[in-house]
Symmetry: C2
Subunit: 281 residues, 2 copies
């Protein structure tokens, strides 16, 4: 018996989330089905983070144990040959039998993409939250930073979920202004004058500003990142001051916080483990 660690990327738009469900296609289900064909027995796959329906991953981590002695490269190729192209295994390696991607994780990093502009971009609708109103990015970033540190995040949990503690440690919480993006991907043009002319022919207001919220923490409550983003957008739209975030933390009241931001903007970016975390810092 040999255990493996894999890193997986997926477009979650048409999936019911990480966890196997009674109906619909899940990432765990796709991997377990592919591994059953490969190992000719039932295989259980454990993931680092249980992403919800519609949420994406750039670096989800999963583990499983196989009876057949296969080199990691063969597992990577065999899985990618069987998986739909919305789900790709990016790397595979041997792991200790004791490796648990969820409980061994030192921290997880999520990002949330917001596109701010007048018209929703058809090529980004699956991968970003479109906000038409003007956003105060500096206020959003000031508010985001108030979440760093150990806090009780009860105000940002999913209502109806039971957990022992709602305290979590957030290491980084920042909003980055990634600048203007030419609407509909015109930036791919090598000829800059073509871009300029094209945006003149099209709606001159069509440039979109990309904001990326990055949050790294040792653990997250269900829907926590999306509840945070929903609250940061309230602040960005000028409906609340940045200090409202501190009041929300103190209130422990989910009803007081902003709406849950839609799933399409959220990406599980990476999961950090022991030595890898140390080496990176």
């Amino acid at each position: 018996m040999q255990s493996f660690k894999v890193v997986i990327a997926y477009d979650g738009t048409d999936l019911v989330g990480w966890q196997r469900q009674a109906a619909g296609v899940s990432i765990q289900g796709l991997l377990e089905d592919a591994l059953r064909a490969l190992d000719e027995r039932d295989v259980t796959v454990v993931g680092a983070g249980r992403t919800d329906a519609g949420v994406h991953a750039l670096g989800q981590v999963a583990a499983f144990t196989l009876a057949r002695p296969l080199p990691p490269e063969s597992i990577l190729r065999a899985l990618n040959a069987r998986l739909p192209d919305a789900v790709r295994v990016l790397s595979a390696e041997h792991a200790a039998a004791s490796f648990n991607p969820r409980f061994d994780a030192r921290s997880k990093t999520y990002r949330y993409r917001i596109l701010n502009g007048p018209v929703k971009d058809p090529f980004e609708r699956r991968y970003a939250w479109h906000i038409a109103g003007t956003l105060d990015i500096a206020a959003m970033d000031a508010a985001a930073r108030l979440l760093e540190g150990p806090h009780d995040f009860a105000a940002f949990r999913s209502s109806g979920t039971e957990v022992k503690s709602t305290e979590r440690q957030i290491l980084t919480s920042r909003i980055a202004d990634c600048g203007l993006r030419i609407y509909c991907g015109f930036e791919d043009f090598h000829d800059q004058s073509a871009i300029t002319n094209q945006s003149a022919i099209l709606n001159p207001q069509s440039a979109m500003r990309l904001l990326v919220y990055t949050v790294e923490g040792t653990g997250f409550l269900r829907h926590m990142v999306r509840a945070i983003v929903g609250s940061l957008v309230e602040i960005g739209l000028g409906r609340r001051e940045p200090a409202w975030i501190t009041q929300l933390l103190a209130s422990r009241d989910r009803a007081a916080a902003g709406p849950t931001a839609p799933a399409e903007g959220l990406f599980l970016v990476r999961v950090q483990y022991g030595d890898a975390v140390a080496a990176e810092r």
Copy 2:
């Protein structure tokens, strides 16, 4: 009665193409249904290019005539409110009653996106052709340039279609190397060190090279751009020399050319008309 010209972008992945069909959702059908609701009568929409199923547009042009006197801004807003978010109207303006987007076009520009790298990117699978083998970009560009000028493109037409002439005038035909793209969109990160670390954690081979084929012509045969791209990729993979393109043109034989490239990489970028063309040059 007032005629209008609109510029439209769409993600064609889940659509049956521009033209209304017996089954499936077409862009023409979506626009005509939305305009019928707006004008309370049947409205016919004429498009500049009949894009096929799965083909995208950044700047398709369409025209229609309404009985209700509405300002262009209201039409833009009303259409976008009724259309699915895969289809967006980018601009709307008054047009002459005689305006025909197809026959009045001076030229059309298409681009075709190819992503070259070891593993297919789940976030690009709807918008690019993934090629795993190494591509000789200089050879592809040299071949592409041989198509500029007036030629008989019979070797690149869709088999089974009847047209009066297979001669077309190609103004520009170029392959651009748009450089490395970090796999799965990690380039959005503002922290460059995070990108580097991330790509080290993931598959070190995971960077993808983006190639963009841009072709501008006064007219195109059905499937012509995709047949050209299929042939250019044969050359890029080293199976043929660039001069093969000249032989193909002379042969007038569709069976001799490369396979038809898949729809997902193709974008109708823009349609040029009279004065706008003159002003741009």
